[in-house]
């Protein structure tokens, strides 16, 4: 009954507003360097989105990581995922929700040995550039950087922009919201000839 009420209320609000409750789009995408192939070796994904778990919701982030691995696997890419808060740098990071200088390079440097074990030719850094709330709207900008593991050179960059209307909680509709983000990124990889 509660679930039906929520669905009816959401549908009503959507009808009144005439707008979608979530959206995502690619706003910038660079041309990848020539000869880049993520099917060579495996891809090591460093996701720093859990720094903003309070905004995204834990369930959504879990769904996002799972979907990213699945959809990359469907494209023939072996993937390993490392989340920021699971690292030493993340565990001891004073996360107050404020703007912060994130020790991305330190995390990567501390994981070099694991990259070698995983035979990771490239790494993908998923970074929350900005996150903000306007009323019940959660708005975010993400940057996806594909980096050559041998040279540390950034070979491809994508920036995405999204928003989500948190009707009940930040953790609602985790699979749908994750799919919006992952599907756009995978589509851009395909469009760029990387998948």
């Amino acid at each position: 009954m509660y679930r039906i009420c929520r669905i009816v209320l959401m549908a009503g609000l959507m009808a009144l507003a005439g707008c979608a409750v979530a959206s995502n789009s690619v706003v910038k995408s660079s041309r990848p360097d020539a000869g880049v192939s993520v099917r060579e070796g495996s891809l090591y994904v460093y996701t720093f989105l859990d720094l903003r778990e309070a905004y995204f919701g834990a369930d959504m982030l879990t769904a996002l990581n799972r979907q990213l691995v699945e959809k990359l696997a469907a494209g023939g890419v072996k993937t390993k995922v490392l989340t920021f808060m699971s690292t030493d740098a993340g565990r001891y990071f004073p996360n107050t929700g404020a703007s912060a200088d994130v020790p991305v390079e330190k995390v990567i440097a501390g994981n070099r040995a694991e990259e070698t074990v995983a035979d990771a030719r490239y790494r993908l850094v998923v970074f929350p550039l900005t996150t903000r709330m306007i009323g019940a709207w959660f708005i975010y900008d993400l940057r996806w950087e594909l980096i050559d593991g041998k040279t540390d050179h950034v070979v491809w960059t994508v920036k995405t922009h999204g928003r989500h209307l948190a009707l009940w909680s930040r953790n609602e509709m985790p699979d749908d919201r994750a799919a919006l983000i992952v599907d756009d990124f995978i589509a851009e990889m395909k469009k760029s000839g990387l998948l």
């Binding site: 903003r52 390079e105 996150t131 903000r132 709330m133 306007i134 900008d141 919006l180």
Partner: protein
Amino acid sequence: MSIPGKCLCRIAVVAALALLAGCASHTFEKSIKSVADANLKGSRVEVYMLLDFRESSYGPDTLALFETRLGSRLAAANVATEMTAFRDTSVGHYFSITDTNAIVPVERVVRSNAARMKAFGAQYSLFILPTMTSGDSNHFTVTWVLGDNSHNAKVWEGVSQINTDYIWSTDYRSDTYADFLLDPFMAELKKQKLID
């Protein structure tokens, strides 16, 4: 999923009407020239365009147009510029920004850009800082500081108050808003005789 066309149309009409009604304003509430005879004509200026610290409020398209036009308008006044945005620096690259109060790490940005600025030969530095941004992106305070690099002295400081009528996306009228940010600044530089 995305916002349907009908919704965008409604937003466009309201935004356009509000602008036409003159609800938007950009005024300098402070403008102090510390070096009376300072003039930028023939000079090189390193512009630290740090408004992208609040890019999600100003809009990336608006800021990109603002940066391009600022360079062009100063070039027309015989002032050569090199632009440095926050995200272009090593400090800004992995800086995650939320809508809480934050201190823009200006000193670290300048230090990280020292070699580039020296190679450009900038005699002056112009800092454009997002001092205050309201949560609804309707009100902004921008601080503009012009410094003499060789004497390490402030030449001019301005503070402007901006009220806008952004309904949804600041980039919806990026062409208009870029000039809305820029025109009062250029007028103030002329008023202070910093450009001819």
